[in-house]
């Protein structure tokens, strides 16, 4: 039986060569896409270290001298007081759970500042994000400590003047920040490299990811209380973030806008825009979403092509082999035999090209031409999984593509087909 299959494939060598070539190209490209999708999805599923559900960002505006209500700032009329007053008023809204002020800190934020956190001779990696925020920031975005500290406890630590850091800050020294909690001799390089002020590490944070598509292990950050570094840091450019109680999260934006003229104009300050983190998140990650969209469409395109190619080729083949199939049936082959024979031909081709395809996949991965995940492009289990997924998907398309002509072939009536013989 197998021998016959080989002979058949060899006999149709010319058109099989086209098919094999197509299957080879498609299976390499498909593997690349599936590998990328796998990496993206695996990253997406990791814990984020924060929660933006029911959160909103409020942008503050300041009147200009063009407005009749404008009063110039002075020593007794300070912008920081107005900002604090606005925060207080928001806090008193029944649906609001927590309100925070921050600078370059909220999740899905394209702007960021960096800072080195030093301990003895240890330094944080170059891309360590400095988050300056009022203590309630931990409650707004529900940060968690590695030793089970709740957002409330973290907020208290910030209030005390401690700083918080993501657990992975000294990852490159194989030291977890959790093991350094309570140590007092940390230094920052923010005012000058020689600043010798020392800070205490209050808690290590569960790694706070920069976005849904970046792995937690590569996102380094520290958090310090914005209230403790000088009055000038509290101003209308701060990010004003709000967490709304889940059960009251209905029409928050509309309601707040409606009340903003009467209740939330504080001196020169007004609410100029309110955005939900659903929008902020989608907007910030649009480039990733676009990329995924493109690859998924690409995958669909390739699968559809496999389907069309096999459908066309095997349609021809069953036409040409009309009398041969009839003879086969006349000699006692069942419909199932005919169907299986055609299917086996396609699948055998796929198995044949899968070997060189996987070799190409490995070479591509070795040369770092595919997606990065866990800091590498070649992970054997990932490669195997993605190559198998590729095989299954293509096999499925082959099944459908050959299935249609094969069903037609099954209907061949030996008596009619062999009429002339």
């Amino acid at each position: 039986m197998e021998k016959k299959l080989f002979t058949q494939i060899r006999n149709e060598w010319h058109s099989n060569l086209w098919l094999a070539l197509e299957l080879l190209v498609v299976s390499v490209v498909m593997w690349y896409i599936i590998d990328l999708l796998y990496s993206r999805i695996a990253t997406y599923m990791e814990p984020r270290g924060f929660n933006t559900e029911h959160c909103y960002l409020i942008e503050m505006g300041v009147l200009t001298d063009k407005s009749p209500d404008f009063t110039p700032y002075s020593d007794t009329h300070k912008q920081s007081d107005e900002v604090r007053e606005l925060v207080e008023r928001l806090r008193h809204r029944p649906e609001v759970e927590a309100v925070s002020l921050s600078q370059n800190s909220y999740p899905y934020n394209g702007s960021n500042s960096g800072l080195d956190v030093m301990y003895d001779t240890l330094h944080a990696p170059g891309w360590t994000i400095r988050r300056l925020a009022t203590p309630d920031f931990c409650r707004v975005f529900q940060y968690k400590g590695t030793r089970g500290e709740t957002s409330e406890q973290l907020a208290e630590l910030l209030e005390r003047g401690d700083f918080l850091a993501s657990d992975n800050l000294y990852h490159h020294y194989q030291i977890s920040m959790t093991s350094l909690v309570g140590k007092k001799a940390f230094r920052f390089n923010w005012s000058s490299p020689d600043d010798s002020t020392e800070y205490r590490l209050g808690a290590a944070l569960q790694n706070v990811r920069y976005s849904d598509y970046e792995q937690g292990r590569f996102c380094y950050s520290m958090l310090y209380n914005l209230n403790l570094i000088g009055e000038g840091w509290i101003n209308a450019d701060n990010e004003l973030c709000v967490r709304v109680r889940a059960e009251h999260d209905k029409n928050f934006i509309e309601n707040l806008k409606a009340d903003s003229e009467k209740q939330f104009r504080v001196g020169n300050l007004y609410i100029s825009d309110i955005r939900s983190f659903v929008d902020i998140r989608r907007n910030y990650q649009q480039s990733y979403a676009n990329e995924l969209r493109n690859y998924i469409v690409g995958m669909g395109f390739l699968l559809l092509n496999i389907f069309l190619g096999l459908l066309g080729t095997f349609w021809f083949r069953t036409q040409q082999r009309h009398s041969e199939i009839a003879l086969h049936k006349a000699l006692g082959a069942t419909n199932g035999d005919v169907f299986r024979r055609l299917m086996a031909e396609g699948l055998f081709l796929l198995i044949l090209v899968t070997v060189p395809a996987i070799i190409i996949d490995i070479v591509l991965a070795q040369n770092e031409l595919n997606a990065w995940h866990n800091g590498t492009t070649l992970e054997w289990n990932r490669l195997l999984l993605c190559a198998s997924a590729t095989f299954v998907l293509i096999a499925l398309m082959i099944g459908i593509g050959i299935g249609i002509p094969a069903r037609r072939a099954m209907k061949v009536q030996p008596a009619e087909a062999l009429h002339d013989e």
């Binding site: 058109s15 490209v29 395109f301 349609w315």
Partner: protein
């Protein structure tokens, strides 16, 4: 005469094998459809349409990078301050015009006194903005130099904003509240798609009417504005770059006294490079982007071409004795090759038109999905219309890709058919 025969031949073939024809047409149309979507996704970023009709003559400085002696390797990256933009680029003489405007539109409340406010995207600009970008004014006119210099609270608004506030578009001279300050409408323009990323807004006001000039960081050197130069001709680009560099060097000397230094990263960028510059701290690589697009086109062409090749091959096999007879009666190999390619081109073009039509429809109805913008500050969807989607070059690209696809899918089978031994061919012997 020959063309007519191609059509007849192609039509006859399509009818002979309905399923194979359907597969061929579907494969070709699908390929052209996706290729044209990729082309359009790039075109909305670089092809001209109002108010960015001069995209091919634009040079942008969207961001800047700055460092200080005290910082070591660290840099600070973002939009420029008004002072920096004016001193370095504002006084340039080689370009036809230079405009300075806020880097993003900002959402601000707009209302009539005593009525509820709506949020609109406001962009702060200078008066040159209206020279560099070609907005379509349906009422009034842009603010001029004197108005700008005086920092008067005037505004150009879009048709939609005018309708929303005043229920009509003839509203020049009327007042409304923008961020609680009274502004007077000086002009009304047609709505602008968010895809015109540099010019986009719903309300435009002089940046001298707000606090923009003092809205700075890093000691007045960085702020929140960008700058676009309009060259008289693309051939002026090197001269403009040269002048920009010279002025930047002078500026660096000035600010160097306090240890500051701007890092150029080869700015200004032309439109194609500027759309890639999503961050201030790196220089986009146009070549890599082009190569990636080339690979995408290659895959979108090769995979269906292999498919179609095997289909063409099978079809030619059925016509083998016909080919033999033709050759026997003196048809040369080149003629035969041309004929097969020509017949197939008719089918490819038919399917190509189908694909192109599909891509236009898809782009029009699926605009929010296809043209969703990255890191945009507005939540308004990217609207498209014929002026944005349909350019002469769009058809040029479609035609070019049809030719390539036809050559790839028919070339090898046609070449093999034309090399066939006449006797064997007439005898009907396979391959």
């Amino acid at each position: 005469m020959m063309i007519r025969q191609y059509f007849q031949q192609a039509w006859a073939q399509l009818r002979q094998q309905p399923l194979i024809s359907a597969v061929t047409v579907a494969g070709t149309a699908l390929s052209i459809f996706l290729i044209m979507l990729v082309v359009m996704m790039q075109q909305v970023k670089v092809a001209p349409f109002s108010p960015e009709s001069n995209r091919d003559r634009f040079l942008h400085v969207k961001w800047g990078s700055i460092t200080n002696e005290a910082w070591g390797e660290s840099t600070s990256n973002g939009p420029l301050s008004v002072r920096t933009a004016r001193e370095v680029y504002g006084k340039m003489t080689t370009p036809e015009a230079v405009t300075i405007y806020s880097v993003f539109s900002k959402s601000r409340p707009v209302s009539l006194p005593g009525q509820p406010a709506i949020s609109v995207d406001v962009r702060e600009t200078d008066n040159q903005f209206w020279t560099v970008f070609d907005f379509v004014f349906i009422d009034g006119k842009p603010y001029d130099q004197a108005t700008f210099d005086a920092g008067q609270p005037v505004a150009v608004i879009t048709e939609s904003v005018a309708r929303h506030l005043f229920k009509t578009t003839q509203v020049t001279g009327k007042e409304f509240l923008l961020a609680h300050a009274p502004y007077r409408v000086c002009g009304v323009v047609k709505d602008v798609s968010t895809l015109a990323e540099t010019a986009y807004g719903q309300v435009w006001i002089p940046y001298t009417s707000t606090d923009q000039i003092n809205n700075t960081w890093n000691e007045d050197l960085m702020g929140f504005v960008s700058c676009t130069m309009l060259a008289r001709d693309r051939s002026d680009f090197p001269a403009i770059r040269e002048e920009a560099n010279r002025r930047l060097d002078e500026y660096n000397k000035l600010i160097g006294e306090d240890g500051w230094k701007f890092i150029n990263r080869n700015r200004p960028y032309d439109q194609e490079k500027n759309v890639l510059a999503t961050g201030a701290n790196w220089e986009p690589d146009v070549k890599v982007e082009r190569r990636n697009r080339f690979i995408i086109f290659l895959i979108l062409l090769i995979v269906p071409a292999i498919n179609l090749s095997s289909m063409t091959q099978s079809r030619l096999r059925r016509r083998i004795s016909e080919i033999g007879v033709r050759r026997a009666f003196g048809c040369t190999r080149m003629e035969l090759l041309g004929q097969i390619l020509g017949e197939n081109l008719v089918i490819t073009l038919l399917a190509g038109i189908l694909g192109l039509l599909m891509s236009f429809l898809f782009a029009y109805w699926g605009n929010e999905l296809i043209f969703a913008q990255q890191y945009s500050m507005t939540l308004n969807p990217p609207t498209v219309d014929a002026s944005i989607l349909i350019h002469a070059s769009t058809f040029g690209w479609a035609l070019l890709f049809c030719f390539i696809l036809n050559l790839l899918s028919t070339g090898i089978p046609a070449w093999r058919a034309s090399r066939m031994n006449i006797v064997e061919a007439i005898g009907g012997k396979n391959h």
